[in-house]
């Protein structure tokens, strides 16, 4: 290397840092090299535009994450009774109230219309796909061979999961939905983690640069590297989370039912901010409803 601009090792007794006039000189010489004419400095690289954020329907959630990003995958994970479905229903309610067409891919056919109606979901704008009803041909033959009840249950789970993935693929390719939600909450983590990462990348690519919010709830993170936003929910540990007296004066006096569910959420991963993700948590309560 005969170039005078390269200094591999500092001479003994000299500092590594260049003097200011020396740096300016080097930069001017570098910019004059024809080969580097088309190379933009790192400080001038185009910044990917931040996605549009929409409300999730829960104030505390929005305060923590800024909302749900359009054109990205958002994943909510947590164990049973951690409030995943409540967040999903709230997000669907918010999206349908914005007059957006939404789709819910219900892998375990667990959607409760009464809860959704109470949360304010506009059913006219919601496409509900109930998976698991029709056995796939290959799985059916396999299930016929297995006499074991547990194996049969697992086979049904695999069928549901496969249907959910195929349906999601079709919905995302069709386009035009404001939100596509995949409910894997009833699928055991062992089954859900078998979803190939390429599927999640395909889904993420399908919603990229579209106004669709891809929303997934599951027991544990399924697509951590694809998700733009990953939250973990936990049920509240305080015993006061449960009220023995129902709220509302219209309830009969003898009725003692669940009043509210306390939820704690932690932001595990966010690709929307350039700075390192800090440990951020929130807590909110969901109100139990019952039709009178």
């Amino acid at each position: 290397m005969s170039s005078p601009l390269v200094c591999a090792q500092p001479a003994p007794g000299y500092s590594v840092a260049f003097p200011q006039e020396r740096s300016a000189f080097l930069l001017s010489r570098l910019s004059a090299i024809p080969k580097l004419a088309g190379v933009a400095p790192a400080s001038r690289l185009e910044v990917r535009p931040a996605p549009e954020m929409v409300s999730s329907g829960i104030r505390e959630f929005d305060a923590l994450t800024g909302g749900l990003p359009r054109g990205c995958l958002t994943e909510i994970c947590g164990p049973a009774s951690s409030g995943r479905t409540s967040v999903l229903v709230a997000a669907l309610a918010a999206a349908t109230q914005r007059q957006e067409a939404c789709a819910l891919v219900d892998a375990s056919d667990a959607f409760d219309p009464v809860s959704a109606a109470a949360a304010g979901v506009d059913f006219e704008q919601l496409l509900w796909v109930r998976c698991g009803g029709k056995k796939l041909a290959l799985r059916t033959r396999a299930a016929e061979k297995t006499k074991n009840h547990q194996n049969d249950r697992h086979s049904r789970m695999d069928d549901s999961l496969e249907q959910a993935l195929r349906v999601t693929d079709l919905l995302l390719q069709s386009g035009g939905f404001g939100m596509v939600a995949i409910d894997l909450g009833g699928i055991p983590y062992r089954a859900a983690r078998r979803i190939p990462l390429t599927s999640w990348f395909r889904f993420q690519r399908a919603v990229e640069n579209t106004p669709t919010v891809l929303f997934v709830i599951a027991e544990a993170p399924c697509a951590p590297s694809c998700a733009a936003l990953l939250l973990k929910l936990q049920p509240g540990k305080k015993p006061s989370a449960f009220s023995h007296q129902p709220s509302g004066k219209t309830s009969p006096a003898h009725a003692q039912l669940l009043d509210q569910l306390e939820v704690e959420g932690e932001l595990l991963h966010s690709r929307l901010e350039r700075k390192p993700v800090r440990s951020a948590t929130t807590a909110f309560a969901t109100k139990a409803v019952r039709i009178l």
């Binding site: 049973a80 479905t85 007059q99 067409a101 409760d112 939905f177 039912l257």
Partner: protein
């Protein structure tokens, strides 16, 4: 200036057949009429004519001709072709006369400002007819009868200038005049008249036009005078406009029964393209497609179930083919006019509901409606395109089942899980103010504790203490076992007690200690059967 156009289809029965089977156009084709074995040739195409086949020959005579395709006459296909011709004419002018099954007249007065000069209108008419699958002659003249004669006599598109009718028609043979049976409905025999004129040495219209009027009237009467006026192009009459009914139907009768979906889809695609072209010619779309498949009679159930039948087979072994006609109706939420979308929807529908027997005849009808007019906006919320959405829904229904996809509707009942699935047709977003029933967007509200249902509910064994559940065991779910750490309830409800399907139940909210914390469930006791069920989990 008045102008009339005539669309004439030579060898109409043959054209109707070729419209249904366009792949036969390069071959020599003859259409037969009558019952076997006394069938005679009704119409032939140019290649068959070169091969020596003429109308009137018997089947026995033409069967010796190599490479000749013989087809029976199809009145249904002729009716469909005639309707297509009317649609073609109606797409240009509202004043259309249905002169004959192969002849359509239309009034072009005032259309030059809309469609251009008369030659251009003539070419456009021929092109539109060709798009509908019919090769037609088009002639434009200042009176309807001259237009008809020119269309019958000249190939392609011809515009007869005003005042030069006799000159243009002069070279036509006399047979052109005698092709219209309506001229001789007063009892006269056209053959005798033609023979008389031939004996006089009159061979073409110019010679007939040159005969002296009075002498012709003395010898042939008013019929002769009328023929002479037609030959001179000097007749004048008003058009008899008809309002063609909005019936869009296409039929194909098959030579051999079809048993696979792929060839059926090929034929359906052709029918759909013709239907869509006809609907487009009338500026209409469709919201309902009715498919009727006539199945082969006498087809018996296959006994052997080991026969390999592909996934696209229309006949499934083991299905009883008791019916003769198979009908499917495709209803769409919005008017569409896309043959490819219709074909895909029909394919998916037939895959899900195979006819069960070989198909010998396909009948497809479209219910016409006004096309959808939508004004899209830049700032409206996203909404799926109706065409894509219909295809997507049909494909999803093929994966999860017909009744497993759609839009929810809660029923007016306190019965648990009372809902029904409807067709998903999202409301198209409108600009302006949101409706009164909607909450304002962007204002988060309090979250509601959602329930995750187990469908069907899981049977459980519950231990009671002092009338309250204290322990639960559910064999199907290992996590649903153990001491109940918290319980609330009961919430008693009942309904429909006046009916057979009455229900009565107590609901309890319970909490179990799980590895990750407390898990909340809804426990239900059916008061009619006494059984305990876990209905779902609060999440």
């Amino acid at each position: 200036m008045t102008a009339f156009a005539c669309i004439f289809v030579p060898d109409f029965p043959l054209e109707a057949l070729l419209r249904a089977e366009p792949e036969l156009r390069p071959q020599a084709v003859a259409v037969l009429e009558g019952k076997a074995p006394l069938q005679i040739v009704l119409a032939v195409n140019e290649k068959a004519r070169h091969a020596g086949v003429e109308p009137g020959m018997t089947r026995l005579q033409v069967e010796a001709c190599a490479g000749l395709v013989l087809r029976p006459r199809s009145p249904l296909q002729e009716a469909a072709t005639h309707a297509a011709l009317l649609d073609c004419a109606q797409s240009f002018s509202p004043r259309v006369e249905d002169a004959a099954c192969d002849t359509i007249l239309l009034d072009l007065a005032g259309l030059e400002t809309l469609f251009g000069e008369l030659p251009k209108i003539g070419r456009d008419l021929a092109r539109r007819a060709s798009d509908l699958g019919v090769e037609a002659n088009v002639a434009i003249a200042s009176n309807p009868d001259t237009a008809v004669l020119a269309a019958r006599g000249f190939f392609g598109v011809l515009v007869v200038p005003a005042g030069k009718e006799a000159e243009q028609l002069g070279n036509l043979p006399l047979e052109v005049l005698f092709a219209d049976p309506k001229l001789f409905d007063d009892g006269q025999e056209p053959e005798r008249l033609l023979e008389t004129l031939a004996r006089w040495g009159v061979r073409n219209l110019r010679a007939l036009a040159a005969l002296p009027d009075v002498a012709l009237s003395e010898r042939l009467g008013q019929q002769g005078v009328r023929l002479q006026q037609l030959a001179r192009g000097a007749t004048s009459r008003t058009l008899v406009p008809v309002e063609p009914p909005l019936i869009f139907e296409e039929v194909i009768e098959l030579e051999y029964p079809l048993v696979l979906l792929e060839p059926l889809a090929f034929l359906l695609g052709r029918l759909l393209e013709q239907l869509c072209a006809r609907l487009a010619a009338r500026a209409l779309a469709t919201q309902e497609l009715r498919l009727q498949l006539e199945l082969e009679s006498g087809w018996q159930e296959e006994e052997s179930t080991t026969t390999h039948v592909g996934t696209d087979a229309l006949v499934r072994p083991g299905r009883a083919p008791a019916r003769q006609a198979f009908r499917r109706t495709l209803r769409l939420p919005v008017p569409l006019l896309d043959a490819r979308t219709f074909l895909k929807l029909l394919q998916l529908d037939l895959k899900a509901h195979p006819p069960g027997a070989p198909i010998v005849k396909i009948h497809l009808a479209a219910e016409p409606v006004r096309p959808r007019a939508a004004q899209s906006g830049l700032f409206l919320p996203p909404s799926p395109e109706p065409e894509k959405l219909e295809l997507t829904l049909a494909r999803i229904a093929g994966i999860v089942g017909q009744n497993k996809v759609g839009c929810l509707e809660l029923l007016d009942s306190h019965r648990p899980d009372a809902f029904r699935i409807q067709r998903f047709a999202p409301v198209e977003p409108q600009g302006g103010k949101p409706s009164a029933t909607r909450k304002p967007a962007g204002e988060p509200s309090d979250a509601v504790t959602a329930l995750r249902l187990f469908r069907p509910p899981m049977r459980a064994t519950v231990t009671l203490y002092d009338g309250r559940p204290t322990r639960i065991a559910c064999p199907k779910r290992p996590e649903l076992q153990g001491e109940i750490v918290w319980v609330a309830g009961p919430w008693r409800s009942s309904g429909d007690w006046w009916q057979q399907e009455g229900w009565s139940r107590d609901e309890w909210d319970i909490a179990l200690q799980a590895e990750t914390g407390l898990a909340l469930y809804r426990l239900v006791r059916d008061l009619l059967s006494g059984g305990w069920f876990v209905e779902g989990t609060y999440d």
